[in-house]
Structure formats: C-alpha cells, structure tokens
C-alpha cells in the first residue's frame, strides 16, 4: 500500500510536469505562426479565441476527427510506432529539466548526458516513419534527416563538453549554479551561436528543414501520415524545439537563475525565469524561420563537418588550456 502511494505521488508529479508542457507546446505553435506572420506583415492565426490563442486547440480537434490512413504497402507496426516514438522521446526528456533548485522531477547525476542521449534518439522516430511508409519521398526525407541530425549532434556534444569543463559536473542543477557569477553565454559566446544553429539543424527547423523540404520532397518523412498520427509528429517536433530551447537556457543563459541578483528579481520563482528564457530563445527560432531561406544540402553538411566541428573542437582546447593555465579548473 505504501508502495502504491509512492507510485501515485510520482504519477501526480509527472502529470503536473507533462500537462503544462503539452499545453505550452500548443501555445508555442501559435506563437511560432504569429511571429512568422508579423515578420512578413501578415496577421497570422487571429480568429479562434482572443488573439487566435485557441487556434492550436482547434487544429488538434480537427486532427482527432480525421481518419488515420495507413498505406497498404507500409510496414504497419513500425508505421504506427514512429509517431509514438517521436512524441515519447520529446516528452521524457523533460524529466531532468530543473525549474528551480528543488523543482526537478529526476535530479540525476548525469542529467546533461541524459538530455543529449534522448535528443540523439529523436532521429529514430523520423527514420522509422520514413522507412515504414514504403514510398520514395518519405524515405529520402528520412535518410536526409538522419544524416543531418547525426552530423549536428557531434558539434552539440563538443559544445556540451565546453560547458562541462567550466562546471565540473554533469548535473543540470550544478550547471545552473555554476553560472551564478556570470552566464556562460558571455565567456562562451561563439559556442552559444554554434549551439543555436546546431539546435536549428537538430530539430529540423528552417533554414535546415531539408527532411521536409516541401519543394523537393512533398513533406518528407511525414508525407504518408494523416490525422492524429501526423499531429503526434507535429507535437513531438515542437516539444523537441522547446526542449532544445530549454537546453540552451540551462547551458548558456543561467537556467532558473534571475538575471540580476538583486531583491525584487530574486522574489520571482525560478520557473518563471526559465520559461522567459525559453521563450526568448524560441522567438529567436521563429524569427530565423521567417528571415532565412533554406540551405542547400551540401552546404548544410559542409557547415556541420567543416566549420562547426573544427571550431568547437578548437574552442574545447582553448577553454581547457585557459582553465588549466589560470588554475580555474573546477576540482572537487
């Protein structure tokens, strides 16, 4: 009985985390479209609800009532599994995100590795969807996205090493607390820029949305999907984008810390600061989508392997030598 009550407590906590995440995913889709529209001097979704806030809800309802079509020549089990995998992976990563020093679902020692592992697993949803559809465009999209995500993960991993050198711990709360005096965005600014661009590529956002480049591949890996299964891909994608923003906020922008350590600011709970930072990064994501045209595929690969990887590796050597020379290495 005692065991059951512990389980219920955990389930309650998980729901308390996941429901806000899902709602904010719906809101973030609306925000994305709105920002995109304003950059292009349009109105964007503004009909359903105040300022069109309920647009995503209406879309979700529409998807629920649409028929799910499973192509007859597809590999059915994997075809159905693919959106589930995408969405699950996008949601389980939120378990380690700290909203304040104590408000974290799982305060594990290797938090940042867990985040990195889950985001690198995200590629499977896309490959599975693309392969199981058994048609040309989804397969090409899946192959493209797999190559793209694997390439940019390498530079994200190296950037994480940069931050870890300054922190000396893999725990996400330790990473946040290490930025008490100075956010890592200041000493590691070039790394922040590279992280941001790699995050765009990792989440298949424009200008790196080649897996679903509509001019070439119809809709890439999600061509054959319809109804709620398509919506799940879509939700998973946006949850992943939010996650990358949260990762950027934690690694470089001080996570749940208030920007200035003065009285009225420290009263605001850490969760609010984290959400504000995530929103800031997300608006940057949305602006990039509106401003920058799509990359060519060979340029994308060149950028990942020939520019970002050497740059971030050099920066690791630089950071390590600096910390070693001035005896600043975090030793405990």
């Amino acid at each position: 009985m005692e065991y059951l009550s512990i389980v219920f407590q955990e389930v309650y906590k998980i729901l308390f985390l996941l429901v806000p995440v899902l709602v904010s995913v719906a809101m973030i889709v609306w925000l994305d479209r709105r920002v995109w529209a304003f950059v292009q001097k349009r109105q964007g979704p503004n009909v359903v609800g105040p300022f069109g806030l309920l647009q995503s809800l209406a879309d979700a309802l529409k998807y629920i009532f649409k028929e799910i079509i499973i192509p007859s020549s597809s590999n059915k089990v994997i075809f159905i599994l693919a959106p589930i995998v995408t969405m699950t992976l996008a949601l389980i990563a939120w378990a380690v995100i700290p909203f304040s020093a104590t408000q974290v679902l799982a305060d594990i020692n290797v938090g940042i590795l867990y985040l990195f592992a889950v985001s690198s697993l995200g590629v499977y949803g896309i490959i599975m969807g693309g392969w199981a559809s058994n048609s040309k465009y989804p397969f090409l999209g899946a192959i493209r996205s797999a190559a793209q995500m694997v390439s940019y993960e390498v530079s994200i991993g190296v950037i994480i090493i940069n931050v870890l050198l300054c922190v000396g711990s893999l725990n996400l709360n330790d990473i946040v607390i290490a930025q008490q005096n100075m956010w890592f965005v200041i000493p590691l600014f070039p790394m922040f820029v590279i992280f941001f661009i790699s995050a765009l590529a990792e989440t298949n956002r424009p200008p790196f949305d080649l897996p679903e480049a509509e001019a070439e591949l119809v809709a890439g890996y999600q061509t054959e999907y319809s109804g709620m299964m398509y919506a799940m891909f879509w939700l998973g994608e946006y949850a992943n984008i939010l996650l990358m923003c949260a990762m950027g906020a934690i690694l470089f922008l001080g996570g749940w810390m208030s920007p200035i350590d003065v009285y009225p600011f420290t009263l605001v709970p850490g969760a609010i600061w984290l959400i504000l930072k995530i929103l800031l990064l997300f608006i940057l994501f949305a602006l990039v989508k509106a401003i920058v045209p799509r990359y060519r595929y060979d340029q994308l690969m060149r950028l990942g392997w020939k520019v970002f990887l050497p740059l971030s590796l050099t920066w690791v050597v630089l950071t390590a030598s600096y910390l070693f020379y001035f005896n600043l290495l975090p030793v405990n």
Partner: protein, 210 residues
C-alpha cells in the same frame, strides 16, 4: 527491493528476447530495430546497477550513432533478399564457419570471466575501488582512466583514429568529371564576370560563345 527485481527481470527478459530476435527475424530492418531495443535495455540494466555514466554513453554512442549507421546500411543495401534465401534454405552462407569460430571464442571468454568471478571474487572486487569513495561514478571513472590507465586509454583512442582514417582512405576515390560547386568562388563572383551588356542590332542577333 521487489520493485528492483521486477525491473531487473523485465529489462533482462527484453534484452535476451530482442537479442534472439535480432538473428531470428526475417526482415533485416526489424533485426536492426531489435538490436536497438537490446542496446536500450542493456543500458537500462547498467543504470540499475548504478553505472549511470556507462549506461548513458551506451545510449549516446551505440543507439544514437552506431545503430543509425547500421540502419542506413541495411536500408540502402538489398540484404533482405539474401537473408530470406538463407531462411528458406536456397543458399548457404560462407560466413557461417567464421561466425561459429568467433561465437565459440566469445562463449569461452564469457565462461572464463564468469568462472573467475565465481571462484576468485577478490580479484574482481571493483566495489571497493570505485563505489566506496562516495563520488559520482563519472568522477571515479575519470580518476581511474586519466591516471592509472592513461596510456591504454590514449592507445585505444589512437587505434580508433587509425581505423577511421583507414576506412576513409579505403573508400575514397577521386572521380574525374564531377562538377563541384566552390563556395568561395560563388560568393566572390563580380558583376563584370557574369554580365555583359551588348548592343543588339535588329535582325542580326547576338552570337554567344561557349
């Protein structure tokens, strides 16, 4: 404790069954997906015994990178048909003897390791050297790897580098007649190179070279 046992048996049963399914499933892509499931459940087992760093690295390296490349190769090559032929007995593989030799070797290695652990437990007393120091196992791993075993560690890194360079050299071929787009050239084009303004006389037309 009972929850621990339940999780342990769940993960280990999934691991064993998916390992069997890797070889037993007819579809090669399914085999790779079972391999991935196997990797994931093994890393769950690692996390359960407290080796969280190892479990996460297993997920990142094997599932996040190596298995993706496996999937690539299996999806692109037409190995499915060949595997089907083995199943129906139309063709026999020449690799079976080699595979048998390697698997017997691995089997004996496992027997030696398990036997040594059973009869001389003090040799394998890793618990004392690592877990008792009350630091996280990432720290303790680093302290062992970069002090006592630094040379072995560096040598294994060099071997991996050599293997990588070797693989690239073996598959590299310089193709002639391929049109390449040079980034620098494209950006640094001036107007004078690309555009020429001509006076066109009526009914004469313009002769454009090349």
């Amino acid at each position: 404790m009972i929850a621990h046992a339940i999780f342990f048996y769940t993960f280990s049963i999934i691991a064993v069954v998916s390992a069997i399914m890797v070889t037993a499933s007819k579809n090669t892509v399914h085999s790779v997906f079972f391999l991935i499931l196997d990797f994931i459940s093994i890393s769950c087992l690692f996390i359960m015994i407290g080796a969280e760093f190892l479990g996460m690295i297993m997920l990142i390296v094997y599932v996040g990178a190596v298995a993706v490349l496996f999937l690539f190769v299996v999806m692109m090559l037409n190995v499915a048909q060949q595997k089907n032929q083995w199943f129906t007995g139309q063709a026999t593989s020449k690799h079976i003897p080699v595979g048998l030799i390697i698997s017997t070797l691995i089997f004996f290695e496992i027997i030696i390791v398990i036997g040594g652990w059973k009869y001389k437990p003090e040799i394998f007393d890793i618990n004392n050297s690592l877990a008792s120091t009350s630091v996280s196992n990432t720290h303790s791993l680093g302290q062992v790897l970069y002090t006592d075993y630094i040379h072995v560690f560096q040598i294994s890194g060099m071997i991996l580098l050599v293997a990588m360079v070797g693989a690239i050299v073996l598959t590299f071929r310089q193709r002639s007649g391929v049109k390449k787009q040079s980034y620098i050239k494209q950006i640094s084009r001036e107007r004078a190179e690309g555009v020429e303004v001509l006076e066109v006389q009526s009914n004469k037309g313009v002769k454009i070279d090349d």
